[in-house]
């Protein structure tokens, strides 16, 4: 566990930079994490995925699989990878301030 400064506030993150407390998150933090991960600007489509990941996690306690992300987020798999080339589920979770998804699918 380390504490880093994001959007001017001290935030606790794990070794890979995922927020440890989803409640510390806000939109500015999301923008900053995105920039650090080579996404210069979060578009509406990025937000659609990030919000879906976050909402699903907060509701169910686990992040959706890439399959259900493709089926139910409203953003198809191909576009997910265009938006988040370094891994849609992983990156959207990081930007959305929730733990890294642990599923294999």
């Amino acid at each position: 566990m380390t504490t880093i400064t994001l959007a001017g506030s001290p935030i606790e993150v794990d070794a890979e930079g995922f927020l440890l407390d989803a409640q510390q998150w806000n939109a500015q933090i999301a923008e900053e994490i995105a920039r650090e991960n080579a996404i210069e600007q979060l578009t509406d489509r990025h937000w659609q995925v990030v919000n879906f990941m976050r909402d699903t996690y907060l509701e169910t306690g686990s992040a959706p699989s890439i399959r259900s992300l493709g089926k139910t987020s409203g953003v198809p798999i191909k576009e997910l990878y265009e938006l988040f080339p370094k891994g849609p589920a992983k990156l959207a979770a990081k930007i959305g301030g929730i733990p890294k998804p642990r599923g294999c699918i």
């Binding site: 890439i66 191909k78 990878y81 992983k90 699918i105």
Partner: protein
């Protein structure tokens, strides 16, 4: 965690049973999920995974499969392979693991390259039209090695 990261994998799928195909697909999908570049090379009976006529009918091998812990004679009972496959498919759906045709399409959409083995295609008299449209090309072993350059090769 290791200091060095894997940037690219090329995965060979050589078997045509359900349990022979899924591991390679899961490895490929998992690679893309981590942002790792991935290629899939289908050879021998592994071609069934991209064969339009067969990819929906891939079954668990119930004969000669000690992992199932079935009596040897029971493995050969007519219909047992379909039954075991059906049960497993139900369990997989619960875990959000897609059926093979959907899974292969998903992996192609994720940006992984799908390739058929030329020697196997010749052997089984399969051509471009027999494969799903997501297959990029039919390639030789040499071309596969060229594609795999700079990455890891995983044989399944």
């Amino acid at each position: 965690m290791s200091d060095t990261t894997i940037e690219k994998v090329s995965i060979i799928i050589s078997k045509g049973s359900l349990e022979g195909i899924y591991p390679g697909l899961i490895m490929a999908n998992g690679a893309r999920m981590e942002g790792i570049e991935a290629n899939l090379f289908f050879t021998f009976f592994g071609l069934d995974a991209i064969n339009k006529a067969k990819h929906e009918h891939v079954k668990v091998a119930t004969v000669g499969n000690p992992g199932l812990h079935l009596a040897t004679w029971a493995g050969g009972v007519p219909g047992i392979s379909s039954l075991v496959t059906h049960q497993l498919a139900g369990e997989m759906e619960k875990l959000d693991i897609p059926p093979i045709p959907e899974f292969v399409e998903m992996i192609a959409d994720s940006g992984a390259g799908l390739y058929a083995c030329k020697a196997s295609g010749d052997l089984f008299k399969l051509s471009r039209d027999d494969f799903i449209p997501q297959v990029k090309d039919t390639i030789t072993v040499g071309e596969f090695y060229a594609l795999a350059g700079g990455g890891q090769i995983i044989f399944t």
